[in-house]
Symmetry: C2
Amino acid sequence: MTGSVGIVSTRHAEFDVELPLESGRMLGPLTLAYETYGTLNAERSNTVWVAHAWTGDAHAAGRHSPEDRKVGWWDDMIGPGRILDTDRYFVVCANVIGSCYGSTGPTSINPRTGKPYNLSFPVIMVRDMVRAQQLLRERLGIERVLTVIGGSMGAMQALEWGLHYPEHTASIIPIAGTGRPSPMAIALNALARQAIFNDPMWKKGNYRPEHPPADGLALARAVGHISFLSDTSMNLKFGRRFSVRDGVFDFFGQFEVERYLEYNGRNFVDRFDTNSFLYLAKALDLYDVAWGFDGLEDVLSRLTCPSLWFAFTSDWLYPPYQTEELVGILRRLERPVEYHLVDSDYGHDSFLVEPDKFTHKISEFLGRMAANG
Amino acid sequence: MTGSVGIVSTRHAEFDVELPLESGRMLGPLTLAYETYGTLNAERSNTVWVAHAWTGDAHAAGRHSPEDRKVGWWDDMIGPGRILDTDRYFVVCANVIGSCYGSTGPTSINPRTGKPYNLSFPVIMVRDMVRAQQLLRERLGIERVLTVIGGSMGAMQALEWGLHYPEHTASIIPIAGTGRPSPMAIALNALARQAIFNDPMWKKGNYRPEHPPADGLALARAVGHISFLSDTSMNLKFGRRFSVRDGVFDFFGQFEVERYLEYNGRNFVDRFDTNSFLYLAKALDLYDVAWGFDGLEDVLSRLTCPSLWFAFTSDWLYPPYQTEELVGILRRLERPVEYHLVDSDYGHDSFLVEPDKFTHKISEFLGRMAANG
């Protein structure tokens, strides 16, 4: 029998620090929003750190109230008897800095001015997100996590943990990740940025929260949405069906795929902050695992813990060859590395859409890690 | 020795007609802008009809004046001794209706109101473009063209000629085409549309020509631009290089690919009309070779002339499988069909970027057609 973690709540850890960032700037004081599921064992050796993707949050599993209609974003993975088994593991998920779900980000109050940061928030890198997470790990009294697991931007974070905090990281599981996004991925984010910059409501980031640049953000989200899907998945889901409401010869008539993208873009405006979206897009674009090192070999030689990697055949945002480049180097370095190319039609989103295709490999891997620890 | 067609000029043919459109609406009177190169032979049997793509025009070859810095869009293909050899063939290229380069489109004056059509212009299909071209073919005294050749939207036109004007079409050469764009292609055009609709300068199509929705159109063009390229070609051209002018940690700093897309988008605003862009995007999305027929087999059974097809391995806008679906059916129908999958890294644009990889097949095919004719 597998089950839900039940009713959970997001907690907020406050840190009275000045965190040094890759840019040379400092960020502080810091708040990190996080949730935990399961119990830290006596040896403090059973932590599974879950890292979320671009627009994710700390709420990975369960519900916030019995009336809550939606469960956490990775609920099917986390709970008693599930892949990340909360009867065995202590699961932690923290909202990244730069986001808008409780951790310090552009919507937070800048203590120096008493006003929201907006564009005075510093440009951050994924490495900064992970640096901030070390504060929470220490606060929770965890010397060493059993694994760090995440998809997309979460995969980048997992990799940064393994590379830069080897003494605190027993293994990593990067899913649908990349060592550095291609110019194609950057170009798509450039479209999203420009969509927002073009919106007069954006006001260089100084919009009022109740009057966000909704048109721009909705369009930006639609750009992202397309990049998470695939030609095949869109064919399966929408085909070329025309929206029933309009005639084919109506200038404003929409295909179903078009209406869907617009609808989802509009919904996104209600749940995400525009400046956070831009700062995290920037962090994704800037992500380069070899940042500050002499290339991939140099940096990857620091990865000594076991790693389990997944890529998805139809992922054109971070295509499999990008994961395979990293895995190939780790193999040449004779590091303990396991890689699975998953045959899936759902593009970059496959890791969320078709977990059954690959997550049993995670159970096995985690079981081995726990036995070795 | 191969050479240029030299100095050419665009002519305008006026037709005092009411053209019935697929939508049931009528369009007229009509103007078609066109250019011709070479000489129609005595038998009137040597016409090569060139069909242009989305943002193309009638100016396919040569220069408009000795000072003209740019040659026509397919100049390397057209001229004495070139693939479309003007010593042998009479080459015609007409600007499609709906465009903004001299043929009747949304910027034209609506004779019923004395004002530009703008959004009162009817939604047109590719079939309507080809129907209008028959008026020009007749005006030029051509009973039967030797071939119709074109890439992308030009491939769609070639196919429509072959299917619906079999008595006037001896062969067709569709390049980088599709029988119907996928929802992915439609979704990309949906982004482009929304980028324009979001621009307050668009004013539901009633912008003044001197104040176009420049931000929206530039962004729309950038969307299209990405879809014409490929992951590989962008890697070759830009990699992850950051624009030298900005620091990595500048919020408004740009990668080179980003700056390039913006620069090209801005240039596009000076050369293309926004409403034309939207009407032609709609025509592309609505394109379905089986429109009005009982599926692909039914419509393709009408194609009796020889056809020569090309698709490009890295084309993710109209991927090879879409051409191969049509070719497969034609082969089952035992039609004279020749297909080449061209290995190229340049995406949808490969047909313009790497002509040397495939155009010799066109010479051979045309030579055979001319000998048989």
